[in-house]
Symmetry: C2
């Protein structure tokens, strides 16, 4: 560029972007498809109680880290926060459960992580550590994780203290690394301390006349945010059609977006006119060969291209530029407009690719540009600093698309280290969230829905109050007798996909049919593998605790469970029996069949269940009326069974959502 | 003082303190005893699910406000944060439920607050607003309320958003008031903006050599904090013995503490020597006739008494003085030591009096003095600013006595508006909490226990895993038949204090005894008052919905429930019948009698129940084995039934508490 070889420069730019994008895309598409996207919807679903086999594997972890670095470096308009959260969650699970066993490093206290609940806690802490590391801003851990886990099934009070502990360690490590890197050997890493965007506009003051512009900013931000969600949903549907056709199509799509992005980034700054450098600036202007606010691009000496300053910076630096106070005249109206539109659409187009890509940074960046644009349009009608407008713009756009008010508020305040802004940020967030909630639901909910996870909402839909649990119980119930024939168990396990079965005692083991307990598929598989069968239908004489240790039934890492097809039994063995009594959960949670669905959902969700037994009101019939799983509470399932409810649902839902979330 | 009439000054000081203390004490003792103390344990207990009749009444509200102002003005070493939280909770409940009805202002949407759950949400938001107003620092609302509600039974995800909304309004109102008061007409109120202790030490930096002093500070702070809790518990026991003897004794106690406090505050500064005013200070020195850092007291011109500066200031100003940077030489070692000891013991002695009194400010003040003391002792071994040491001292003392790590961390950071401190504050909090947790439990738990509230902890004690629910079910079960004789209902309601009764259908209404549902005492009282009885034992023909509206069964404000003794029925009516079927909850939550107590506790606590029905394993017996209430899950009840568990409890509990809270 300095030698005015613009075509050469363009070629190098396009090629390096292309190669990096392709590296990320090839790795993701061929080795770990689960590493694509931000990973936050997957973490949310996992914390909600959905088991996802490949999402937290070691392979995904490695590809996510490499792919995220490549994708962010490749000038694609993607963020790093989401992938970092996913990465941390992967590390948490790997550390807690799997690798250690493989390498014989398992120690005694790791057995605490052999169950679902502790693993979910671990993932929560891991995700919190990821957020803290991504933003280098630790307090929002508490708030963000509260918010995240308020939306998930399994929240416990001890978690807060553990998450706090985790964050403290993240902060300590970060600080130590920053101290080491302060010498400048680590590139951009050491810069900025623990607070990233240290806004140092000294005298921030605002009065009642600034309220109107701020409220308008919030309203339009809410509309833009929900438009963003709307467009992203449509585009993700189109992308998923393309991606379904095979890996080649995925790569082609990534290549196309990469080249388009390069053209935009390199081509658009030519539209902006050169501006003279400000006179009393502490920074080098134009900044050449280093990260800085005043990019020379094609300009003459002592001039800079404001649009290039926005495009040719790391995302962090661009945000810092937009947030910085006292720079009202640094950017022209048209440059900001072009940057806003480009950022808005590139953010949408880049998300669905097969590369690890976060949403948070593009949204915050687009919002900051939007805020600056509003500031320039409002002009002298408001005395607020334009950098402050940028912060509020980010808040409104985040409020409009992500809707996580408290977390966003805390994250923004930590990023800007300025608590005086708080009232304005809160106001903007409330306005934009309220506006956007009327229009559609938040971006993560949309993605979770598109991915088809059976996500349980924090609240029951209104129509659930009109249904009883017996209205949604379907199909013939599969159950086992207290002492069951092996062949029968194998047959049932092979022909159904259920993960839990009621155990019912019948004569001669009890006077009348009686619910004894609940047995899990995983435990049945362990029993079948051990082949400790009984020759005839009687209670087992030997003590089960001598034959099995509790660790035999410990939950394995996801995706490594046994499969019924791997177990081959002889015909003699198939005719033998197993006494299921010692292995059943003898006190499963139960509800009566007349209970309202909304009430059963509260139990299911608050206690964090996987199986909920439905018992009949009248004891003379069979002792179990059905078995509810997570799937039975999803709106899709319920509305398929009761199609007439659909209309009521949507009429009420909008108001409901506005009040209650 | 200026005219050197020291005895006169002392007399005025003692008398004004005495009169104000007596005002607070007389009002509290004779009009609203529930207004005594901080109120936070009561709010915690209410949110945990304990109904407290008088604690949130209008009378308590008024006395709390007046009493708190009088008590804080009377130089007693008490805080205002706790009473403000309690006040806000009262306002929330009054607004939501009671007054409006009385003044015929009830409108349609207020019916949302006619149930327990919404009321608890309202109180949570109210308490959050109180915290925000007390510290003028809004974000910790999220964290503090999370923490508070993590310890209570009934947490729901929608709450976060509502609490956030509430806080936004508090911030807006506060800012508006501060703007109005900026002219200086409101005394001390307008000062300080939204951040109270704006520490402006410019260059805060710390390195690895500061770690050791900080860790030692945390360890000793943890020990001091638990010592504080220990002494406070002992003293509260003594005080409660005195207070039980009658109002006169209560007042005598308050008078004694008030006079002692006055003697301490006025007498101790004479021990300190006068110090020359610093030369280049922006403040007036000595400050006469106004709030300031350099009190003249008995000193010569251009000198100040450092101990008097600490004693004769508002608590807020003293904290600000101790926190301010660059004042390493402002206080002498002995002054700080005297102030620390006085603050430590006066804080303990002042809490149990019959005046509204908070704990937070005394603890934060004592901690700040402790931090300064450590700083003076460490001397040149650390490069940290002494003001920073004061902040860390507060953190360690708060961590040692209150243990609410996350909230304390956020509150301190907001108060000091300096996020750079975060890693050190977290470290100190972790160390002091860990140390103190080994020694005893946190201060609010101690007070809740002393007050005898049936508070349900967030986790089950380890011994609960060894018990089944049938182990703690006691006494003969009181139940009603589906159609029950009025006289029988009246008899049972008069002879028992139970609030919920199972309804069991027997022949001829069913083939075999069958659990129909659960009916509440409050609903039975409504039925008895209406006198819509049946002449004989048969199902009611008329539709219940025509005779009663849902509002008849809406929960009234606490302390205003009906009483069975107010209902007088004729002998004819006593022989008539009521059909309980339409009024029963037909799908109560149930557990099987073999379920472990720990598992039942999870259900009880997470879903927020008041009654949990226990059904027998075998259906041939009576359809209900018992009814569990909050009381049955308290350690006191369980350990009385199973005394052998006591030792196991204590051995395991300490470790357990350390890991899991």
């Amino acid at each position: 560029m300095l030698a005015q070889k613009y075509y050469w420069a363009f070629g190098v730019f396009v090629m390096s972007n292309f190669v990096l994008t392709m590296l990320a895309a090839v790795l993701t598409a061929y080795i770990a498809p689960a590493a694509a996207g931000s990973g936050i919807p997957e973490v949310m679903a996992y914390l909600n109680g959905v088991d996802l086999p490949e999402v937290f594997s070691f392979r995904t972890l490695v590809i996510k880290v490499i792919g995220c670095i490549a994708a962010v470096s490749s000038s694609l308009h993607v963020g790093k926060a989401g992938p970092m959260v996913h990465t941390s969650a992967c590390v948490a699970l790997e550390f807690g459960a799997r690798r250690f066993k493989k390498y014989r490093l398992t120690c005694k206290w790791l057995r605490y992580f052999k169950n679902d609940r502790d693993r979910r806690d671990l993932v929560t802490c891991g995700a919190g550590a990821g957020v803290a590391a991504a933003f280098r801003a630790p307090i929002e851990n508490g708030a963000a994780m509260t918010n995240a886990t308020a939306n998930v099934s399994m929240w416990r009070s001890a978690l807060l203290w553990r998450a706090f502990f985790t964050t403290a360690i993240v902060v300590a490590v970060l600080r130590a690394l920053i101290d080491v890197c302060n010498s400048g050997k680590c590139g951009l890493f050491g810069k900025g301390g623990l607070i990233m965007f240290n806004v140092t506009a000294d005298d921030i003051s605002y009065g009642s006349k600034d309220l109107l512009p701020v409220i308008i900013l919030g309203v339009i931000g809410g509309i833009l945010g929900s438009l963003y969600n709307f467009l992203l949903e449509k585009l993700l549907r189109v992308y998923s059609l393309i991606n379904e056709k095979g890996c080649a199509y995925k790569l082609l799509l990534a290549a196309f977006v990469s080249i388009t992005t390069s053209f935009c980034l390199f081509g658009l700054p030519w539209l902006a006119s050169c501006r003279p450098c400000p006179i009393n600036t502490s920074e080098a202007c134009p900044s050449i060969g280093r990260s800085g606010n005043f990019k020379k691009f094609q300009c003459a000496p002592d001039h800079y291209n404001d649009l290039a300053s926005l495009f040719f910076n790391t995302n962090d630096d661009t945000i810092r530029n937009l947030y910085s106070g006292g720079t009202d005249n640094a950017f022209s109206k048209y440059s900001i407009l072009i940057f806003f539109a480009t950022s808005f659409f590139l953010g949408i187009f880049s998300y669905g690719l097969v590369v690890p890509s976060g949403l948070f940074v593009p949204v915050i960046l687009t919002g900051a540009a939007y805020g600056r644009l509003v500031a320039l349009l409002v002009g002298s009608h408001s005395t607020l600093d334009h950098g402050l407008f940028a912060v509020l713009g980010s808040a409104s756009f985040l409020g409009g698309s992500m809707r996580m008010t408290v977390s966003v508020c805390v994250i923004l305040l930590e990023l800007t280290n300025n608590l005086v802004l708080l009232p304005l940020v809160m106001l903007v967030l409330l306005v934009s969230k309220a506006v956007a909630d009327v229009l559609n639901s938040n971006i993560y909910d949309i993605i979770v829905k598109l991915k088809g996870f059976p996500f349980l909402e924090g609240y029951g839909e209104p129509y659930m109050r009109q249904l009883t649990v017996s209205d949604v119980v379907t199909g013939p119930l599969q159950f086992f007798r207290g002492v069951e024939r092996v062949g029968n168990i194998v047959h049932v396990l092979k022909t159904t996909g259920h993960n839990g079965f009621p155990v019912i005692d019948e004569p001669p083991f009890s006077d009348s049919p009686l619910l004894y307990g609940l047995i899990l598929r995983a435990h049945l598989l362990v029993l079948l593998k051990r082949r400790q069968f009984l020759p005839n239908c009687s209670l087992a004489s030997s003590d089960a605790s001598r034959l099995f240790s509790p660790l035999d039934f410990a939950k394995r890492g996801s995706g490594k469970g046994d499969d019924i097809c791997d177990i081959h039994l002889t015909p003699q063995e198939m005719n033998m029996f197993i006494d299921l009594h010692p292995f059943s959960n003898t006190s499963p949670y139960t509800v009566v069949e007349t209970m309202s669905l909304a009430k059963a959902l509260i139990l299911f969700r608050e206690v964090g269940l996987r199986h909920l037994l439905v018992i009949p009101k009248c004891s003379s019939r069979s002792p179990v009326a059905g078995l509810l799983t997570r799937h039975d509470f999803t709106p899709e399932h319920i509305l398929r069974l009761h199609p007439t409810l659909t209309e009521i649902k949507w009429k009420r839902k909008k108001l409901f959502r506005f009040y209650f979330r």
